[in-house]
Amino acid sequence: MNAIELKNVTFTYGKHMPGAVPALDDVSIQVKSGGITGLIGHTGSGKSTLVQMLNGLLKPDSGTVLLDGIDIWAEPKKIREVRFKAGLVMQYPEYQLFAETAAEDIAFGPRNMGLEGEELDRRVREAARFAGLSEEILGKSPFDLSGGQKRRVALAGVIAMSPKILILDEPAAGLDPEGRRDILGGVKRFSRESGTTVLIVSHSMEDMAMYCDDVIVMAHAKILMHRPTAEVFSRAEELAAVGLDVPLITRVAAALRKNGVDIGLDVYTVDYAADKILGML
């Protein structure tokens, strides 16, 4: 079954204003259960609007949003349950920490769902483990943590609600390479071990290439393509035409072909490129 399905979704901000243009224009996508999907697109392409559709923060003007095959707006009064089902980690979530300790902050979401006692404790601990947070960090005030640690506390807070779908908006922006690996590696472990469907929005083509099974490309309020990662990045010219890019290593592969060494164009990690080149010797 599809974890996420959008059928002909259209949405316009301030649609009664003169000159309003749709932010989502007849968008249809299907995301299978259990994988990590990337969502890329230029600024203003409609990514954030799409993300806010998935947990019911925005309601489509027309079209349907289905999670696990269920129309989330079938019973508008139950939209709060949808928000527990689709966990959203916003940009720079570390600014939203507020509790006295990291553990308390992580517990906030699941407590609101009515969990308490041992179950709550278990959820907090498990979420902290996925996010790579040690026992010692859990007892600290969020103010005493580094930027990368705070970001992982915010991630754990959403994981602790055991969402069916985890949506992350620019989870690694502003982090150093190690911080990026920590957080994205944690997300990948969580997805693989729990079977949770993950959607990552990012401008980093390198990160997308490293962590996503498939990639949705948005441009001008529409879906340009939704294909396996290798195939998306092999279409460099189409991506460039909508203001996107491919990883540097993918451009090396294209230039290698021009120089008579053809390792294919579906190259998006350095290890794969090195293996292909060494395999030719």
Partner: protein, 299 residues
């Protein structure tokens, strides 16, 4: 060339409170930045990069050590508030979040804001604003509303503000981190142009190794000290040291490193796809030629 910034043994700690100890963010940092140069500053989160930037634009003053900005020693015992204000006029800063540094609703008013605060005559402000907007390629947006701009355009407007104020040195603190690939390219192109054509000294703090590769020099910070300092060729020529400091190297360098381990002779310092691919292709041909000549199944 005269250094626009000279730092001697700078140290800085953030004060602690009842619960936490003071944090030593910089421990004895010394360097010179020649006027007109383009330097990238790398380092993991918490390595001291941003603390250093705050000292260089004099938001904070060092606990110890000496700092000269544009020939004035701002740490001199007899330096006054006025000296520091004067020195601040020479150093500008562009931040990470475009929305945190746009103050006006109309593009040209935003660019003029700093000049107005400096008390520059209106006719001259007009000239400076027009020239600054032209320099960042935003002239046609002069009368447009700032909130409608893309992230990359907002950053260019912020850069125009520093140009209009005739900043001799501009510090970019992860100014491309929140931009999409096109926005990032736009801003990096403008930064390079600012340095090349206007002679502005650029200090670029970044987590993007590809951006750092465009600089003349890279300073790598680690645990409050300078860890590596050299040309991109020298710094990225030590991938193992970069990885050990929690950093990365450009993908072209990483590829070359992996190929060199298997005996393929590819230089570590080719940072664009074309020159890297040419070197790899050349090395592959050389190797294949050798094995064919070595009596294996040649054609």
């Amino acid at each position: 060339m005269n250094p626009i910034i000279k730092a001697e043994n700078l140290s800085f700690s953030y004060p602690g409170d009842e619960e936490s100890k003071p944090v030593k963010a910089l421990r004895g940092v010394s360097f010179e930045i020649p006027e007109g140069s383009f330097t990238a500053i790398l380092g993991h989160n918490g390595s001291g990069k941003s603390t250093l930037a705050k000292l260089l634009c004099m938001v904070n003053l060092p606990d110890s050590g000496r700092l000269w900005v544009a020939g004035r020693e701002i740490t001199a015992p007899d330096a006054t508030e006025r000296d520091i204000l004067e020195a601040r006029r020479d150093v500008g800063m562009v931040f990470q979040n475009p929305d945190n540094q746009i103050v006006a609703t109309i593009v040209e008013e935003d660019v003029a804001f700093g000049c107005e605060n400096l008390g520059i005559p209106p006719a001259e402000i007009r000239e400076r604003v027009d020239a600054a907007l032209a320099a960042v390629g935003m002239s046609e947006y002069a009368r447009k509303q700032t909130y409608n701009l893309s992230g990359g355009q907002k950053q260019r407007v912020a850069i125009a503000g520093t140009i209009a104020m005739n900043r001799r040195c501009v510090i970019f603190d992860e100014s491309t981190a929140m931009l999409d690939p096109m926005g990032r390219r736009e801003v990096m192109d403008i930064i390079a142009k600012l340095n090349r054509e206007q002679g502005v000294t650029v200090l670029l703090i970044t987590h993007h190794m590809n951006e750092a590769a465009a600089a003349d020099r890279i300073i790598v910070m680690n645990q409050g000290q300078i860890y590596l300092d050299g040309s991109p060729r020298e710094v990225f020529g030590k991938p193992a040291a970069m990885w050990a400091a929690g950093l990365d190297v450009p993908q072209t360098t990483e590829l070359a490193y992996k190929l060199r381990q298997k005996g393929l002779d590819v230089p570590l310092y080719l940072f664009d796809a074309e020159s890297c691919a040419e070197a790899v292709a050349e090395a592959v041909r050389r190797r294949s030629g050798k094995s064919a000549g070595g009596g294996k199944t040649g054609s």
